[in-house]
């Protein structure tokens, strides 16, 4: 028993490649491709056996020839089904974060360096959600492998089954891919009224950040900043080496929001509380307000823009449970 327990993972690794394939491109070699007759293939084989018996029984010379030609066709079909996967290059892409309860999509780039097209490929990380792909000769295509994201945090791409029956459908060839890909899953937003503005205060020196009245220094330009706020002279001093600078102002009457862990009802579960924070952040971002986040283990100063929003959501997604 003990030996079996030790050997099984090794065998599984040897046979089915549980090990990660890394982040680089991956070429399917013959050791990774498995092939078995499909149900249609079994039906075909059964028909051939009956036909052979008939041909022998009635002594049909052409019947023999037909059965043998079909048997050859089966073998050739097997080789071509194998070839449909053989030498395919799979390159993992970067996946966009999703909210829990949604479907995460893992983009894979499929490269065909052969002149013949590869049709009817099927990829599935979750057996219930297969996705098809077809690549032209010497072509390239991108598939997004769906996987339901149930829980927040990192969602690692499990083994992906890449299968095909093309051209004759008599055999199923498949290969397991395990590229190192993970998708960040944000908590599922929970709709809840915003907490009272200003119930919490950020540190005094940054108080009123984002106003437009008193010059408070320079900061690096974010993609969301208007070109009108770029400090061209100050940026020119860096001789184009660094990023453009933005004049930052203090003061102003804009509402300042800081969402805190304590704002959520402590009797709720952690996941619901994270969901409420997520909902607030999304609402604040949609409203164009400036907002910060304070969690027991980390704080994010108030800010705006998609990058800030992502940072906040990431912090919530990776909240240690």
């Amino acid at each position: 028993m003990k030996i079996a327990a030790q050997v099984t993972p090794y065998l599984k690794q040897l046979l089915f490649r549980w090990k990660s394939d890394g982040t680089g491109p991956l070429r399917l070699g013959q050791r990774r491709i498995f092939i078995v007759p499909s149900r249609g293939g079994l039906l075909f084989a059964l028909a051939l056996a009956v036909m052979l018996l008939g041909a022998i029984n009635y002594n049909l010379a052409l019947g023999h020839a037909l059965v043998f030609l079909l048997a050859g066709l089966g073998i050739v079909g097997m080789i071509h089904t194998f070839r449909n996967l053989f030498g395919l290059i799979v390159t993992p892409g970067r996946c966009e974060p999703v909210f829990a309860g949604e479907t995460a999509f893992f983009p894979l780039s499929l490269d065909n360096d052969r002149t013949a097209p590869r049709l009817a490929l099927e990829l599935a990380a979750d057996a219930a959600l297969p996705v098809g792909a077809a690549i032209e000769g010497l072509g390239k295509t991108r598939v997004r492998v769906p996987l339901p994201a149930h829980r927040r945090g990192w969602l690692a791409l499990p083994r992906v089954r890449l299968a095909t029956r093309y051209p004759l459908g008599l055999f199923t060839a498949w290969s397991y891919l395990q590229p190192e890909m993970r998708c960040l899953v944000y908590p599922q937003p929970v709709a809840a009224p915003l907490p009272m503005a200003g119930t919490s205060h950020w540190g005094g020196e940054l108080h009123g950040d984002g106003g437009q009245e008193d010059f408070a220094g320079f900061r690096d330009r974010q993609p969301a900043d208007s070109p009108r706020h770029v400090a061209w002279k100050a940026s020119a001093r860096n001789a184009g080496e660094g990023p453009l600078l933005i004049k930052a102002f203090a003061g102003g009457a804009q509402s300042k929001l800081v969402f805190e862990w304590q704002h959520t009802a402590p009797e709720l579960s952690d996941e619901i509380r994270l969901g409420m924070l997520t909902g607030w952040i999304l609402a604040a971002e949609a409203a164009g307000s400036s907002y910060g986040l304070r969690l027991p283990h980390l704080s994010l100063p108030p800010g705006r823009g998609s990058r800030h929003c992502q940072q906040c959501l990431e912090a919530l997604a990776l909240f240690p449970s």
């Binding site: 039906l43 002594n59 043998f68 030609l69 079909g77 080789i79 052969r114 093309y166 459908g169």
Partner: protein
Amino acid sequence: MSTRPDQALDRQATPWLFACAIATALPHVTHQAAWLSAATLLLLGWAVRLWWKNERLPGRWLLILLVVAGCGGILIEFRTLFGRDAGVAMLVVFMAMKLLELKSRRDAMVVVVLGYFLLLTHYLYSQSIPTGIWLLFALWLLTATLVRLHGGASGTAGASLRYAARLCLQAVPFMLVLYVLFPRISGPLWGLPSDAHAGMTGLSDTMSPGSISRLAQSADIAFRARFAGQPPARHKLYWRGPVLESFDGTTWRPHIGQGAAAVLDKLSAPVRYELTLEPHNQRWILALDAPVHLPDGLFLNTALAANQRQPVTERQRFRLAASLDYRFNVVEDARTLQRNLGIPGAANPKARALALGWRQTGGGPQEIIRKAQDLFAAEFTYTLQPPLLGPDGIDEFLFATRRGFCEHYAGAFVFLMRAAGIPARVVTGYQGGEFNPLDEHLVVRQSDAHAWAEVWLDGQGWLRVDPTASVSPARIETGIVDALAFGEPLPALVQLRADWLRNLRYRWEAVNNAWNQHILGYDPQRQRELLSRLGLPETDWRSLATLLGIACSLLVAAMTAWTLHQRPRIDPALRLWQKALRQLARRQVHCAPWETPMALAQRVREQHPALGEPFQNVVDAYLRVRYGDANDNLTPLREAVARLRR
């Protein structure tokens, strides 16, 4: 049962399946009951209409009802569901019904596999070259349908057909190896249904007026013969079939019962030949008179006819020899002689009186035979369309109508001989044949069917007398076409008189014969011969299976290697560029994946000043091919790369 969306059959694939059904079932129309063909066509039309209007397919209960109705119809028509014809009819009907149930790809797969199966059933009826070609096309279509089904809508029809053709062609080597090496078993493995060999033409074992003239209107080939040397003269080619000794007034029948084996004196050297007999579902072999040295499995009966124990239900080959001049049964059993004198009742009094008159005139049997021959030679007509005869048929024929085919002459002659006290009997078979100069086979058709007489004379045994030769010497010397008047219902194929048409027919028949002999006639014996010629004598099925396994594995390995290792075609400019990079690598300059050609040229100039200029030329030429207007002109790049080497 719900269908997963990715398993559903796409609408554009359905016409392929209709085409498959038509291609595989259509040839059965020629030999199927009309109502079955009509029902099948109706079902097909319905399926096409539903598809065209994009309507819902019929429900399960309706389909079950249809299946029951189809089976019931077949049961009424054939009285069974099993036999050969009933089985084929069932398959055809099921194929049409499956078209009404095309929901998923699996249903489509069933249609295609059923189509493959239907292809086999055509060979039960014909294995000719045109059938083979038609079925090859059907096979191609079925395979293209599979490709189309599994490749999705992204491939065009042309692409599917091309791919299927490639797959089929690649399957051919496997077929050849399997065909040659697969251990052949001579069937049948179990009892064949009673209708397995229905519809074969050939001589029957009885003769009545009209039976041979009906047969003579068919141009079907009865058998072929190839002589080891020069074929004998035409008038000596009498191929013996059933010998008929009992006469009931209208019909001649063979005598049932055992007798002593025929005693044969050969008077000339044996003529060796190979006979390829088309199936006629009877036991006789139609050997050339008189057969000597019979191979195993054949035996001579007491009337000198070669037989085998099982009916000839498939094309068979025999190596035979004949002694053209012979004497047999000089000493004949008294009961046999008595039997061959019998004439029933009191019918045909005029013929009896005539024969009796001859006998009383004296002169012996030879004289009587000559008188009968003279009678026929005088005013009789040889025709395929004789008038109908009544109960005193022989009298009517001899004294009134005087028109008849060989069975009339043979029958009347034997009757006269018996009435004159000479033991005589009717022999049926074939006479003559047509020599095909292309493949040196003598082709004997049903139109060469013939009947003649045999008389027993004291001291000479049984002698062949052909009364037809007296009526129409041309029938024996040159053949039936010249013996009959123009306008007789002979098959057109036999009547071809124009040389070029005749040549065309010779050619076609020679091709057919080669097909029959070498492709269809590849049986266990031929397999042994071929293998021993290849240096593998004494093969049993075990060594054959081993050989087959090795050959197939080699073939699979070769095919896999050939299929998988087709290197991608690299763009020629890129290939030249890679060549230049290899030159650099030899000088320890490695191009990083992110380095552009320009950046690389800069680095080369710094590291190897001597190489800077030539490499810059390569980069310039490469960039011009890649991004400039010199798209096709690779010469500057090629030259620049060549200079780099120096």
